[in-house]
Symmetry: C2
Subunit: 313 residues, 2 copies
């Protein structure tokens, strides 16, 4: 009977790691630097070494560890094959097999980081009481992860839950990072709401407190909460685009709940209420009562998800 | 070891039934009338009686039957609870349990008819070679069904794959049967393409062969194949709306293939090519190569799916 799980969240700058009990209690967390030299070939050995050190430090025997779950910044197939982690310098290879070799055959699961964050929120966070949920992460970009009856929906090309690149505007002329135009991410991410606000300030002569500050997503929401008309319009635009996209996600997978996370979600109820208003306008009637929750695990969602992947995936 | 499966497709007018081998061979098919008297309380007993008669006729023993799978015209939860089959006069009840009682405890699975048709095409039809697929049925309405790794995605409210009611047009003034405006079904169903063609004929003075015929979906496609400009515009509109909706379905569940069925799908490659063109324009790059197949089971997809549900669900 195993006692512990390791959850790992590999980012472009740091690797976050957590030691969990089987019941989901985070016993310890720490970070190492992501060494990207030589096509990222040091990353997995560095993680393996760090886990071994932690096990020695805590006097944890190999048999007490159920396994290691890792989130990576790119698409991943169900079997642990990473397809494109440009951020880490990686090519196509089976990261789960490789890591398992480095840990003498230990159970290793690998998934996309947004999907892992979703699994973490499902296991111990905002989605804990639901059997199926869609996680929406509003950060620098817009990420998504879909959990159906406890299973992550990875997708054929590792693109399951890639909701940030749903086309929500046919008239947009700016190009998204993905090469398309009019992606949800261009409106509903932290950078997206700043982008549309800059445009609106340039095109409108309306007085606004936004003209006096350096623009960040947080400021835009703060100024909107104070009743600034132009800031409120920006929140409406974000809510309309996101509510619309999520209505289609619901018409497709019909989850029990949406869990909204990422930096932008700190705006709180003004955000979920605006999304919900447009969501209910566009969604099929059977899905009108789907719940909107806020994520609760913050930056730890990824390590929780890694650990959860070993127990539930 | 069982030898046979029964597949049942309950419609508002007739109930289609099929007797299958475990390997998916259709040995016999027949229909009975859907008796809707008294809130539809005769429907399940009529089906049970018809199956018992068929078993007697073919000298099939009870132990030789693995079970019965039934598709119904309305949302159904994973456990077989039907939520709203207005067409049959049914209220909310567990149709799987009820049918199992009527058949002395036989295994019974119940699903939404569009989802069952998807499962049928997955088992023995256009999706046979894929591990995950989305079925799109373009008939009087637009139905959908999602199969991920052999499992039907029923959804929390039985609305999984309700792609006909994805909002694809914010300017539409006509009301859809569901009460919303701008649903995919208003453009991409057999009645939808006739609707938009009527509108276009009234608004445009362009000469068109469509002015000389009684409009049906089939005629519109036939005239388009002959190069009629206005008919081609209608096919483009249908393709754009459907390709767009399916791009979002792919950004969400990332299936291996789309399988297009229903009466409108008889238009063939002109339809799949037009859908595919717009799909690739809107979809996330990782999903650009998703395959479009035509359904192969026609009106039998539902009974195949019922049988498949007993083997695979």
């Amino acid at each position: 009977m195993a006692d512990y799980l390791f959850g790992v969240d590999i980012g472009g700058t740091t690797v976050k790691m957590g030691l969990f009990t089987m019941e989901g209690e985070l016993k310890d967390k720490w970070e190492i630097v992501t060494r990207k030299d030589g096509g990222g070939e040091l990353i997995l050995p560095d993680i393996a070494e760090s886990i071994r050190q932690k096990m020695a430090e805590k006097s944890i025997e190999r048999e007490q560890v159920k396994g290691i779950g890792m989130g990576v910044p790119g698409p991943v197939r169900d079997d642990g094959t990473v397809i494109k982690c440009a951020n880490l310098g990686w090519g196509v290879f089976n990261a789960a097999e490789k890591m398992s070799e480095l840990m003498e055959g230990m159970l290793v699961k690998v998934g996309n980081d947004a999907n892992m964050a979703a699994l973490g929120e499902y296991w111990q966070g905002g989605g804990k009481q639901y059997s199926s949920m869609v996680m929406v992460t509003l950060g620098t970009g817009v990420g998504g992860g879909i959990i159906i009856n406890g299973k992550m929906l990875a997708g054929t090309n590792g693109a399951g839950g890639e909701i940030g690149h749903i086309t929500v505007d046919f008239d947009e002329t700016d190009v998204c990072g993905c090469g398309k135009r009019g992606c949800l991410e261009q409106f509903a991410s932290a950078t997206g709401i700043v982008r549309i606000t800059r445009k609106a300030l340039a095109e409108s002569s309306k007085p606004s407190k936004l003209r006096e500050i350096e623009l960040t997503a947080k400021d835009i929401f703060d100024v909107a909460k104070d009743g600034d008309e132009l800031a409120l319009e920006m929140v409406e635009t974000l809510g309309q685009k996101l509510g619309y996209a999520l209505s289609i996600v619901a018409d497709t997978v019909d989850p029990e709940a949406f869990v909204i996370g990422g930096g932008v979600s700190r705006a709180g109820s003004i955000l979920t209420e605006t999304i919900g208003k447009y969501y209910r306008e566009y969604v099929f009637h059977a899905c009108r009562d789907t719940v909107f929750e806020l994520a609760t695990l913050g930056n730890d969602a990824g390590i929780y998800g890694g650990a959860a992947a070993v127990t539930t995936k």
